[in-house]
């Protein structure tokens, strides 16, 4: 999807075109859910974040300018919502929660990793999730979080060092 396409869809959604907003949702939902899940560590909470994020997006469509990258804008809202939602720690029972888990050994390691990432300070967690899991370039991470590029580099290193320390028995 290119920028022109984004601009057209956002413009249409901003004019109240429900179909355009639905398209926006379809396109960006996986991204929002992914970053929300990584930050909150919980699929149900991540679903809440998705809802909140798109509510915010809907309310702010008019504020978006085509010269700004849509992904950056949506990431920013999603990260903020995920951090807020994590703080609220709202949980709902999952309708699919009764499905069997994957292999126990891997699951235990995955849980440890999720726990270690979740225990990072907010900024470190956000930087780490966006660079490591979402594969965003450093410059875009800086743009999303509104911090300097140098700060992003240092923060990423601090986050990885902490994770290395907390997970050293698994390496």
């Amino acid at each position: 999807m290119d920028a022109t396409d984004d601009a057209a869809v956002v413009a249409a959604a901003g004019r109240g075109d429900k179909a355009a907003f639905a398209l926006l949702y379809r396109r960006w939902r996986p991204l929002v859910f992914g970053v929300a899940f990584r930050i909150t560590g919980d699929a149900d909470v991540a679903e809440d974040v998705v809802q909140e994020t798109f509510l915010q997006v809907h309310g702010a469509l008019a504020a978006w300018r085509p010269e700004a990258r849509l992904s950056t804008w949506i990431y920013r809202i999603a990260v903020n919502e995920a951090i807020d939602e994590r703080r609220r720690s709202r949980r709902r029972p999952s309708p699919l929660g009764d499905l069997p888990a994957p292999a126990p050994a891997d699951r235990a390691v995955a849980d440890r990793i999720a726990e270690a990432v979740a225990s990072l300070p907010v900024r470190e967690k956000a930087v780490f999730v966006l660079r490591h899991y979402e594969n965003l370039p450093l410059a875009e991470v800086a743009e999303v979080l509104g911090i300097a590029l140098g700060t992003v580099k240092a923060t990423l290193h601090h986050a990885l060092t902490k994770l290395a320390d907390r997970l050293k028995d698994l390496r």
């Binding site: 996986p30 899940f37 699929a43 699919l96 660079r131 594969n135 990423l156 990885l160 290395a164 390496r171």
Partner: protein, 564 residues
């Protein structure tokens, strides 16, 4: 470079965020600093661990969501019936990282050569983090070199090596031996034994493969082999849909089962955003899929994905079933039409819109849904629909409402050969100045067609009539189309009085045109013949006098100057 600077750069290097010059500087520092090398190994191992064993995002099909287009055309979807290997999306190397890793390697080699320092150990030339940075690797599985190092250690190992390297069907004793290796403590040998059993084992190897499912290093291979043999129950396959290493094989195996429980499980995952499961749902036959999809379309949580599948799975049965369900469920109707209007360039979505247009129960909603979709986008589907008798009339009506679009005009023009639709299509086209219907209407000369021609505005009407009067095949229709608006054309018509074949029609035309000037040209043709009677009637209509069937009485009357 200080150690403090170096350590931040190590992290950046692991993510491919250093320039080539920075990588080279870091490599030189690492050669000289054992502490930083240790730090690099620890961080690289951590990145590797995080890449391999982080909990998967539920439903995410690809590692980079920005590259995973949510609206990938169905043609690009994998053929799940043939899929038998792990999701390649998880193993795809990132070229940027490959390049960065290559830069580090080059820098190390360069550094070693320059300093003439002998390598201290094998990992110095190829840091352990490389594999992790380049992409996930199953560390519990042995690298080829590791396996090779295990071989040739004695006569018994050589026999095992021969067995593992052989191809073709296995003898029972060989199968027993492989099962023993698969259950043994040596993970490398066990994996090779399982691979061999998976490839060449008979049905009796199934228990060994099942046992291997419990060992993480063997699980994927054993799972694939069991799935290929159809030896996995749904109770095993369904949870595996959430396991990144197994989900592709599990989805393909479920698709092959073709029962309602299998598609329901895939649909549940698809509703969570899993495109792989969504694609797998398309592999089910309509008889199995339709009841599940219609049920799911009625529930808000699964409506979106069910509608998508009903709309875009090959076969009109899916769309007509969706349409029937829409007739009874307004919310579903709105969702289905909105989705179809979203991407009407998909011929199946376009087809659904047209089916909905042709169905009285959904026609109004369909018209509203596609109000802003250009006809050219739907053109192929409309052209196909127009070939179906039952759809021609509603489509023609809808096209008429869109006549300002060139594509709609082209499609309407293609309807002009249908006598029942021709007048309406022609009126719409003529109203916007499209003259393609003119020769068709005049050649037909049916009353409705002539009426339709009558809607043409004055200037083109005069021009087209003059042209048509000069064309033998259009002349009868043109004469029939003449009316009081065409008085000025009397000179064009009078010559046809000379031809008995066209005399009657010409006389009628002159009468309808109220062409008083043509009276002296009509009088010589009054006679007892059929065409002569038409001339007499035309004269009577024009001068309000009837002097009978004798031409000389009319001539006398004319010479008396009665009219003038």
């Amino acid at each position: 470079m200080s150690c403090e600077e170096s350590r931040e750069r190590i992290t950046l290097s692991l993510y491919g965020d250093l320039s080539a010059a920075e990588e080279a500087a870091l490599a030189r520092h690492l050669l000289a600093c054992a502490d930083c090398r240790a730090e690099r190994e620890a961080l690289a191992a951590t990145v590797s661990l995080l890449r391999r064993l982080s909990p998967p995002v539920p439903g995410r099909a690809q590692p980079d969501p920005r590259r995973a287009a949510p609206t990938v055309p169905d043609r690009a979807q994998p053929d799940l019936r043939r899929a038998s290997t792990a999701d390649p999306g998880h193993d795809r190397p990132d070229l940027r990282r490959l390049a960065a890793a290559a830069a580090i390697l080059v820098a190390f080699v360069w550094g070693l050569a320059t300093l003439s320092a002998p390598p201290r150990d094998r990992t110095a030339g190829a840091p352990s983090g490389h594999g992790a940075v380049n992409g996930p690797r199953n560390d519990s599985a042995p690298a080829p070199a590791d396996v090779a190092s295990n071989s040739g250690a004695g006569e018994s190992m050589s026999a095992e090596e021969r067995l593992l390297a052989a191809s073709g069907p296995l003898l029972p004793a060989e199968e027993d031996r492989l099962e023993g290796l698969a259950a043994g403590p040596d993970a490398a040998l066990a994996l090779r034994a399982i691979e061999k059993l998976a490839r060449d084992g008979s049905a009796r190897s199934v228990p060994a493969l099942r046992a291997a499912l419990a060992r993480p290093a063997l699980r994927t291979t054993a799972f694939e082999a069991l799935a290929a043999r159809g030896a996995l129950a749904e109770a095993v396959l369904i949870p595996a849909l959430r396991d990144p290493a197994l989900r592709r094989v599990a989805a393909a195996a479920l698709a092959r089962r073709a029962d309602t429980a299998a598609i329901a499980a895939l649909l549940a995952e698809a509703a969570r955003g899993d495109d792989l499961c969504r694609a797998a749902c398309r592999a089910f036959p309509a008889s199995v899929a339709l009841p599940v999809l219609v049920g799911a379309a009625g529930a808000p949580a699964t409506r979106e994905v069910a509608v998508e599948l009903l709309l875009t799975t090959d076969g009109d049965t899916f769309r007509t079933t969706l349409l029937r369900a829409c007739e009874e469920d307004p919310a579903l109707r709105a969702a289905a039409l909105a989705r179809a209007a979203h991407d009407p360039s998909d011929p199946r979505a376009a087809r659904f819109l047209l089916l909905a247009l042709a169905d009285p129960a959904t026609a109004d909603a369909a018209r509203a849904a596609i109000a802003f979709v250009p006809v050219r986008v739907l053109r192929a589907a409309i052209a196909a629909g127009l070939r179906e008798q039952a759809m021609r009339s509603p489509l023609a009506a809808w096209l008429t409402s869109r006549v300002e679009e060139a594509a709609a005009r082209d499609l309407l023009a293609s309807l002009l050969d249908d006598a029942s639709l021709r007048p309406a299509a022609a009126r719409a086209l003529l109203a916007c100045g499209d003259l393609r219907p003119v020769p068709i209407l005049l050649r037909s000369a049916a009353a409705d067609d002539i009426d339709a021609f009558g809607t043409l505005s004055p200037a083109p009407r005069r021009r087209e009539l003059v042209r048509a009067l000069r064309a033998r095949d259009l002349r009868p229709g043109a004469l029939q189309a003449i009316d009081e608006r065409d008085t000025a054309l009397w000179r064009e018509i009078v010559p046809f009085l000379a031809d008995p074949a066209s005399r009657g029609a010409a006389a009628d035309a002159l009468a309808r045109a109220g062409a008083d000037d043509a009276v002296p040209y009509l009088i010589p043709h009054v006679a007892r013949t059929r065409s002569g009677t038409s001339v007499r009637q035309a004269l009577t209509a024009l001068v309000q006098v009837d002097l009978g069937e004798e031409s000389h009485r009319w001539s006398q009357w004319w010479r008396s100057g009665a009219l003038r």
